[in-house]
């Protein structure tokens, strides 16, 4: 507990970074290092069923070093997933209505923790996309006429991108299954939630990898002139989105703010279940100033769902009445000007 700008969020952020090796706040690791300092280290002990596991992350101008049980990991995909966290912050309530990038980042962060192969494919995809965009720029500016290399990049993009799409579709199906009963309960049996993967590739009913690949390739072929004149890749998983539907209607467009928040909350709670199913253990939950954004009924649903099961870090200026009732023997820390004291 503490007033704003005292360092509460920094504490949660450090737990988040320790788990995912990147921040939710910035994509530039340098921002994590204190001003005028050369490096920073975050370390923690994760208590798991199989025993305790020390994790540590070091950021410096030379990059980041990730250690599991004191051993440096050569690949981040071997590090991420050792500690699973879910962060729920006020901006997550924008999940339904906010910009598509929020939803894509949501999928990449949450799914990546559970699936190292997805993490690998989405990182590869980003690299290939960057190369393909740079090459399209060259073609656009007339610096090269060689389209053979563009074909190579297209093939790579399609191969990796199709894996990303296929994995996201499967993940969303599971997320939907887990979110539906929660949503029905929060809405007092009034609403049914469905999640739809909106791909920029025209997928119709294509579900296997070869069909996605051929459709992706065909869509890119049709866009070639446009891509060349714009100097960037027109479609692919980096342009895809997720829609939340309630009772057959798109909530982002036709839903009330309350319905949008209920959908976001259901999906967040569903993630906790999914992660428990996938990894056998509950993730650590970080509730960053989000309780005060929810009404009493939604606070109750959230707190009951995690009660006595999920280790949760909550930041708030003060505890609400609902929270006081539903959280058993909380350990309270006060944060003031970056100093943490136990109550």
């Amino acid at each position: 507990m503490g007033e704003n700008a005292q360092g509460k969020t920094n504490l949660l952020e450090s737990i988040y970074v320790l788990a995912l090796a990147r921040s939710h706040r910035t994509s530039n690791d340098k921002d994590l290092i204190q001003w005028q300092q050369k490096e920073t280290t975050i370390s923690g002990r994760v208590h798991r069923r199989t025993g305790d596991l020390p994790l540590s992350l070091n950021f410096s101008n030379k990059g980041k070093k990730a250690r599991v049980n004191h051993l440096e990991q050569s690949k981040l995909s071997q590090y991420v997933g050792q500690l699973n966290v879910i962060l729920f912050a006020p901006e997550d309530l924008e999940l339904v209505k906010g910009a598509p990038t929020i939803r894509r980042r949501f999928i990449d962060m949450e799914f990546g923790q559970m699936n190292p192969l997805y993490l690998y494919h989405s990182a590869q995809y980003k690299k290939i996309l960057k190369n393909r965009n740079a090459y399209l720029k060259r073609l656009q500016l007339g610096q090269t006429k060689d389209t053979v290399f563009l074909d190579v990049l297209t093939e790579q993009l399609v191969d990796t991108g199709s894996q990303v799409i296929l994995a996201r579709q499967a993940f969303l199906k599971n997320l939907e299954l887990a979110a539906q009963p929660i949503h029905t309960e929060i809405s007092n049996q009034q609403e049914k939630l469905t999640l739809k993967y909106q791909s920029s590739v025209d997928l119709s009913e294509n579900t296997n990898i070869d069909q996605i690949k051929s459709q992706f390739l065909e869509s890119l072929r049709q866009q070639y002139q446009r891509e060349k004149s714009q100097g960037s890749t027109a479609l692919g998983p980096h342009r895809d989105d997720v829609q939340f539907w309630v009772n057959g209607k798109d909530v982002a467009t036709f839903g009330s703010q309350g319905q949008q928040r209920t959908a976001a909350l259901s999906v967040k709670l569903a993630e906790i279940h999914l992660m428990q199913q996938e990894t056998g253990e509950y993730p650590v939950l970080l509730l960053d100033d989000v309780l005060s954004e929810l009404d009493a009924s939604r606070q109750t649903h959230l707190l009951l769902a995690i009660q006595d099961k999920v280790q949760t870090f909550i930041t708030a200026p003060s505890l609400s009445d609902v929270a006081k009732q539903l959280i058993h023997a909380p350990k309270v820390f006060h944060v003031k000007q970056g100093q943490i004291t136990v109550e």
Binding site: Y120, N131, T144, V148, F149
Partner: protein, 201 residues
């Protein structure tokens, strides 16, 4: 207080090396001060000579001495003249030569194609490979040994597309489990790559 200029310059120069920060550079600079005059002179001479006396082989692109161009491998007629092994840099040639198991020729790209880093197909030693193959019909096979990352793969695929129409066999190094590694301990990605690159028995 400031260091006297000569040592400040030396520290500054050491920091230009990869992986060396100001602290290590300072330690190295003071160590250099304590070295024998002879050693320091030989050190500085080899620095200059490495730049001045070396060049890239006109045929294959490997580093070679200026008065040994084409390089020693390109001159060796006892080597299999029908196979060219394409690698990213001269260090890869050394590694392959140390296996003593390959007796063909090499072609060193001195890089990989990476448009995002500003490197196009014509910016690495690749046009010279195409020329070399058209001038030497005895070359029947090109083995591509670029790294197994996105850019290494793209470079390999590009070579395949360029060379196959000319009737040249293009092969790619298999990647997967290393010799002696237990399947239990291999990480997921290595296993998947190994399955993709499986060979028939």
């Amino acid at each position: 207080m400031q260091y006297p200029e000569p040592i400040a310059k030396l520290i500054d120069n050491y920091t230009k090396l990869p992986g060396i920060g100001p602290k290590t550079a300072t330690r190295l600079a003071f160590y250099t001060l304590g070295m024998d005059n002879e050693d320091v002179e030989s050190f500085s001479k080899s620095l200059i000579s490495a730049k001045k006396d070396l060049t890239f082989c006109d045929t294959c692109g490997m580093i070679t001495e200026k008065d040994m161009n084409p390089c020693i491998i390109c001159r060796d007629k006892s080597r299999n003249q029908g196979t060219v092994f394409v690698v990213e840099n001269s260090r890869d040639v050394m590694a392959m030569e140390n296996t003593r198991d390959y007796h063909g020729l090499y072609h060193v790209l001195n890089g990989v194609i990476s448009p995002s880093a500003g490197t196009g197909p014509e910016d690495i030693n690749l046009p010279s490979l195409v020329r070399r193959l058209s001038e030497h019909e005895e070359i029947k096979e090109v083995i591509v040994g670029t790294n197994a990352n996105a850019e290494g793969e793209a470079t390999a695929m590009y070579l395949a597309r360029l060379l196959k129409p000319a009737g040249i066999k293009v092969t790619r190094l298999a990647h997967g489990l290393s010799v002696g590694s237990d399947i239990d301990y291999a990480d997921e990605l290595t296993l998947i790559k190994a399955v993709q690159g499986r060979t028939e028995l």
